[in-house]
Symmetry: C2
Subunit: 358 residues, 2 copies
DNA sequence: CTGAAAGCGCTTACAG
DNA sequence: CTGAAAGCGCTTACAG
């Protein structure tokens, strides 16, 4: 396969000092601070200070250096810098599968937010059923500034390691990790309660609930809020089914609902994907929506507004939620001693054809 | 906001040599190679060699060091290492919006593949309408090993900068960047031709095509293959519409198809999302699918198998395609002088209800 | 088989 | 206002 000795081929012959004055030719590859410093006739430390707008540098010197840096396309090596500053401007993003489109819409928004702040994202994938702790050692090697965790539960083991390494951690839409760590969540309980009120107002008498994973706090909280909301409206749950947060699970639940006797006349699904499955099943069984059964989801993913579904759902204000998450993180990168915090943002009902009469 | 002087608080007092023998307490934060070396009574260089299985190290020494490293949870600092080796084991992933679920399914698979190889991904987001060149300077700061580009066109400017910095680059499902760079693509032309043959076999006489963006090579190639395939079957295109690669664009195209006179009896859409829009429009106009109009998409995203769509489509073998892309990249990380290469993998028709009679 | 030394490219007290 | 020196944590010729 030929010669692969790229690194350090001639490590001792690169010193600028012994090689005479630098020329522009040196910039054929990447210029370094010492390329600039040699060309400008100043010390590397001066280059460093000039480029970070250190006020102690004279205007004339700064301008000369900045011009030179621009001309050569010099940008400080982030690797070398973070070795010294202990800051990389890179944040870990730990996520599960993107099977639910909700997560990719989330990632899109997050990238946009972080882009504005010049923060980069390094991705870590935790397959379903695996522990976050498995990726943490890898993550720790990269001197990352913080850790954003989405769509994955944090084991106490993983949380302990992160805390021990003083890595600021924010959960997105999950309850905060044990003692340490922050979280930014949609008010799932409040959203569930709103759904109850809506269904009651639309005349539902026998409500049903389709749950996600048993260990997902989102599903549990949405259910709790829903039950409380029903109670407040003088209703109680007629049927409860598991939908596993998948469209297939929702389909099975929908079949059961279609055949139940008495049949529920309103269904709240803990996410949109399951609601799609429920709608598919009801259509298959020729149950009319919303006339015979009304259906509500949660998330407001893009497909919820697609014509065949046209689903009433609780919209999570992802933009706001992620901004809060990013604020929590950046504050703790600046000031590691800040106490953990959990932020809630309210969802809002988006009523579409699966509940609206007519 | 209090004290934020974390970096280099007391830079000169950390030297192990002057501080007496190291104790296990030092490992409260992160142990370094010199923590281990002091504890083991060897040089840091020996620690380094022992942990990378350098054969020159004696078995006894290695075992002692490995045991110690395990006990302290030592992992070499990837930042410091890559400064020296010029290798970070991190690859840039440049992508556009994830609005088409196809891209998130792709990202999922890619993360899995790279995870197995202990390669990390750093994400760069290029909003639609912006040039990749805008993120390249940022990317170059991080000493990344290579660059994977998906769902974004590479301008010649960006491509030149990447080539000049000798950064191996692989396009996923896009034609290769100008002179330099590799690509792994689905055989879009072949797939288009297969669709033509299928529609002909299903009795279509007046085929239509719904195109994506004018500047997307995927759409152009699928169209070219489709036209050639039609010709080979003795057919020619009856109607050509733009669908902008969005569901709304597909919907508009579908309305036009429903009202066209004579109406096409078969439609090939350059991606699945547009096909969904077409199906929605046909349903709205009470045009029966597949009896009056047959519809075929491209990509086989998950929603293509959802009941309301049940779409016949060309499945891209994403697993294989991404494996090829990763192979191209890793080969060029090892051996930068390798010539650019473009790899095609064949798609395959997945027939569902929008063409299958009965 | 192992160690001492140099160096990756930067930044930051420290001294002038 | 600027420079010389030290050092971040590692790896790799080089010498023994």
């Amino acid at each position: 396969m030929g010669n692969d000795a790229r690194p350090l081929k001639k490590p001792r012959s690169k010193s600028r000092k012994s090689g005479g004055p630098a020329t522009l030719d040196d910039s054929a590859l990447r210029p370094t601070a010492s390329t600039i410093s040699a060309l400008a006739g100043v010390a590397p430390s001066t280059v460093s200070r000039a480029l970070k707008n250190d006020p102690s540098i004279s205007v004339a010197t700064r301008e000369r250096i900045v011009a030179l840096a621009d001309r050569l396309g010099y940008r400080p090596n982030a690797i070398a810098r973070s070795l010294i500053t202990r800051r990389s401007n890179v944040v870990a993003f730990i996520m599960g599968e993107l099977t639910n489109p909700f997560y990719s819409e989330q990632l899109d928004l997050l990238l946009e937010l972080l882009g504005e702040r010049e923060i980069q994202l390094m991705l870590f994938h935790v397959p379903t059923g695996r522990d976050v702790a498995e990726v943490v050692p890898m993550l720790l090697q990269y001197q990352l500034d913080a850790c954003l965790i989405a769509s994955v539960a944090l084991s106490s083991k993983a949380s302990d390691i992160l805390a021990q390494h003083r890595l600021p951690t924010v959960m997105i839409n999950r309850v905060p990790a044990h003692r340490h760590g922050c979280a930014a969540l949609c008010d799932n309980e409040g959203g569930g309660a709103e759904v109850a009120r809506l269904l009651a107002a639309r005349g539902v008498r026998r409500p049903a609930f389709v749950a996600g994973h048993a260990d997902a706090s989102t599903s549990r909280d949405r259910e709790r809020g829903f039950l409380e909301g029903l109670r407040a409206c003088g209703l109680s749950l007629g049927l409860r089914l598991d939908g596993d947060y998948t469209i297939e699970g929702g389909f099975r639940a929908g079949l059961a609902i279609a055949e139940a006797d008495p049949r529920p006349d309103g269904v709240f699904c803990a996410n949109d994907i399951m609601a799609f499955g429920v709608l598919d099943a009801l259509r298959r069984k020729r149950v009319a929506v919303p006339r015979q059964v009304q259906v509500v989801g949660f998330d407001d993913i893009r497909a919820a507004s697609w014509r065949p579904y046209d689903l009433t759902t609780v919209a999570q204000p992802m933009g706001v939620l992620l901004e809060r998450a990013v604020d929590l993180i950046t504050a703790r990168i600046r000031e590691p001693a800040l106490l953990p915090e959990t932020v809630y943002v309210a969802g809002s009902i988006k009523e579409r054809g699966t509940t609206r009469p007519g």
